[in-house]
Amino acid sequence: MLGTLMKYEWRNLSADRAPLAVALVLGAAIAYGAFNGSGWVRFQRGAISEALSEERERLHGLRTEIPAVESGSKTVSAFADPRLPQSLGRSMGTRYAVMPPAALGSLAIGQSDLYPYYFRVSTSSKETFINNDEIENPVHLLAGRFDLAFVFLYLYPLVILAFSYNIVSAEKESGTLALTLSQPVSLSRVVLAKILPRALFVLALSVLLSVVGVIIGGADLAAEGALWRLLLWAGVTAAYGAFWFALAIAVNALGRGSATNAMMLADAWLLLVIVIPSVLNVAVKAAYPVPSRVELIQAIRVAGDESTRQGSQLLARYLEDHPELAPPSSKPGGPPDFGTLQVAVNEATERKVQPVLAAFDAQLANQQRMVDRFRYLSPAIVAQAAFNDLAGSSAHRYQHFLTQVGAFHGQWREFFVPRILKKEKLSAADLDKLPAFTFREEATAAVTGRVAVAFAGLLIPLLLAGASALTALRRYPVAG
């Protein structure tokens, strides 16, 4: 029976021009979104490859410059001596720590236009290289971008609602509902038969089109976990779409007219996609205000000034803590050189600023926790988080990158600081020993874990809407 009903429903639909219109609108939006997303990924890749080739050329230049300085055929000032670990580690020999766009990066630009994706790591404090923001017209950051995530979060629900807002009410209004129900078939079954072809059509279309979009956009599906993530993307899309279909049926089941249904569903969309997220954003910021960056700037400066004033005392204390690093020929009381002082001053400044920075991280983590807790208020927030996670443009992946950059920064200093303190000079061969950064992608399991929570966040409202639809359909006033 269900099969027969679905067959006729599909015939009905095909006779209408609606599916074609839907396919065209959704197809155009998805194609445009995929195009924009892949453009952004290409831009990032371009900037990264330019940075890396600059690094390659610079290090290559040092390989010939160092022997030249050693042999005395080239003279340089003390500040620009490439053999000195303090100049090499602070600027001349520095390397980039790079987070390339993820395999599915073109799907959602997400937060990736707001966070830096490469840093030039040096022996100086992290604050000197961590603000490497990409140039972008701020109006574009404000408006957001037309990427696939936008299409799915905002437009796709509207396409679904346009397709199903009158799924029962129209039959009632045209009088065919009573006729159909005079057959031995329940209303729930009829509704299921009407909704399934539509749902399958829209879901299949959007999954298919986004896969095509991703592939055309140059995604690297051979990358580890990429196919799995694409599958999860399709799953989240399907669950999010199913929620909107269920909501449409639930509203239809209330037995109002088509116009009222349309109005109620438009209100629901506005509430879930626009109002709740922006209210949550405000609430989160009010509950956990991030300390002022302006005060951070001052704190760093005050700490820096203090450390500079106490320079030589700090150095003495530092060397007491690290006797193994003391320069071999240090005469007590002799003036320490600039590079050595800098190490101690940096260390002390960072120790003082650390609690202030920790306060930022703690508040941001609190904000994120609150968003995570309250995101279930709107499937749109749940889906946004999942999309960003899968595309690798979430704050999680950025934090993951920052952790690795922190570790690399430590490694970089471990390489240079002992050499600075021991006043060693480096040779061209030492350039091969410089630490290098390789980005380790987030574990697929971690992403899967977060997306699994998102699934729960989508399935629960889906089930709630479905259950309320089923109960209401049982009391549906077919003739009345």
């Binding site: 603000n131 109006v139 626009i274 922006s278 001052q298 960003n388």
Partner: protein
């Protein structure tokens, strides 16, 4: 007659439960957004004022130093908040809040507030501007979509015709009615805004921002009027209330959500900005210079010029210290490089804004977004205006330090200066551009809004004259 129609419409709307509910939501959001904006403004401006004072104290109390070390130490400039940002924060969350003014380098602003927020921020911030640009038009659509089609469906349109009511009078009356109903919401909200503004900024600042507020109000009124006109026109020409609603919701979506994003992408494609890496590389290369512009060539030229100027034959005989002259020469070379690089970049941003303006011919939300954040003082040109002022202050510091070195450093030993020199640098003060400055830049967008308003009015009149009675 028109007034009578308007009164009937208004009474009907105000008594309608749906309007009350929607109106209450919009009013609550608007009032809430304004109060939050007020709190935000007070906090941030207090922080910035305190920090600006602290950075000045640090500069004055830096002790004995070589002037060039002091120049390297530098000061920070913190972007002040202007009172109207409590209505519209514009691009402020996406531009940095502070810039370090140090020797040799025009730095980028750092710490964009949006970086310290979660991804939910990207759904849009709840500000007065969001409510006014996105939700109020939706309310207008919901109030007016069945203005004509609803009367027709009820059969009352025929009655009205038989009474001899002219269609255009009906349209005018309905427009006035909607305006009245909206006024019930927006006037109290505006009053809350004015009170909050006065409380936040004091009476004198309040009077100073009055012209900006007036222009901002005008642009919103044009925007709302355009929406009323469009809605009435669609309602009069659509075959049914349902199709009127669908068309209007479609337009609302396109106008408020799709067009701004599409405009960003088109602008980026048509007028791409360089990557931060290319930008920095370009500056680095230009600073190094080449041939006659390289540091050594410039040094030689400077020496020759100075020898000639003071009519001596060797550097040691110069009455000034060469190091200071060299430093200042380097600064001036740098200034040219930075001026060229930033004017290129800002020109690109300006062209991107031009693309947005072109798209606003199809979507008035883009035009009102532009005028609103401009009159609020939170758009990119005003950010650039501040950046320019900060940069000029930086250059002044460099000049004062280098001239002191030239005059007083001598040629032997380490030269140290103290508080007297630091005090020679006046404190940084910045005056935001006045409403006229903004108006000159925003007149195209205002004209586009006025055009939208006029075209929508004409369309409403035209459609109401041709409305199908049956």
């Amino acid at each position: 007659m028109i007034l009578r129609i308007a009164r009937k419409e208004m009474t009907e709307m105000v008594r309608d439960g749906r309007f009350r509910a929607a109106g209450a939501i919009v009013f609550t959001l608007l009032a809430g957004a304004l109060l939050l904006g007020w709190q935000h403004y007070r906090e941030v401006s207090a922080q910035h004022a305190a920090a600006q004072k602290a950075t000045r104290d640090q500069w004055l109390r830096q002790g004995k130093k070589n002037p060039h070390s002091a120049a390297h130490y530098g000061v920070y400039a913190f972007k002040p908040k202007v009172p109207l940002t409590m209505v519209d924060r514009g691009t402020d969350p996406y531009t940095g809040v502070a810039v370090w003014l140090e020797a040799h380098k025009q730095n980028e602003f750092k710490y964009r507030p949006a970086q310290d927020a979660t991804a939910v921020q990207r759904f849009g911030e709840l500000t007065g501007a969001t409510v006014l640009q996105l939700l109020v038009p939706l309310l207008i659509v919901l109030l007016t979509f069945n203005a004509f089609s609803g009367e027709r469906e009820l059969g009352t349109l025929r009655q009205l015709r038989s009474l001899g009511v002219s269609q255009t009078d009906l349209a005018r009356g309905k427009a006035l009615g909607v305006a009245g109903a909206l006024g019930l919401l927006l006037v109290p909200a505006a009053l809350i805004g004015v009170v909050a503004l006065t409380a936040a900024s004091g009476q004198t600042d309040m009077i100073a921002s009055a012209p900006r507020m007036a222009w901002m109000t005008l642009s919103y009124l044009l925007y709302f009027a355009a929406f009323v006109g469009i809605s009435l026109a669609v309602s009069a020409s659509a075959p049914s209330s349902r199709s009127a609603l669908i068309v209007l919701l479609g337009f609302w979506m396109f106008n408020g959500l799709i067009a701004p994003r599409a405009a960003s992408d088109i602008a980026k494609a048509v007028r791409p900005a360089p990557s931060a890496f290319q930008f920095a590389q370009g500056i680095g290369k230009a600073l190094q210079g080449d041939g006659h512009n390289s540091a050594s060539a410039r040094g030689k030229r400077l020496e020759a010029e100075l020898l000639k100027k003071y009519n001596v034959d060797k550097v040691e005989a110069l009455p000034i210290t060469l190091t200071g002259a060299r430093l200042q020469d380097g600064e001036e070379h740098g200034n040219q490089v930075f001026d060229a690089a930033y004017s290129d970049l800002w020109k690109t941003f300006g062209e991107q804004e031009g693309v947005h303006r072109a798209v606003s011919v199809f979507a008035p939300a883009l035009a009102v977004r532009s005028t609103s954040m401009a009159f609020a003082g939170a758009d990119f040109p005003q950010h650039a205006h501040f950046a320019q002022a900060a940069e000029e202050y930086r250059r002044m510091i460099q000049r004062v330090m280098n001239e002191d070195i030239m005059k007083n450093a001598g040629s032997t030993g380490v030269y140290m200066a103290g508080g007297d020199l630091w005090r020679k640098v006046p404190p940084f003060s910045y005056t935001a551009p006045d409403a006229g400055w903004v108006l000159a830049r925003q007149s195209p967008s205002l004209a586009i809004l006025a055009l939208w308003c006029a075209a929508a009015g004409v369309a409403a009149m035209w459609a109401s004259r041709r409305v199908q009675v049956y």
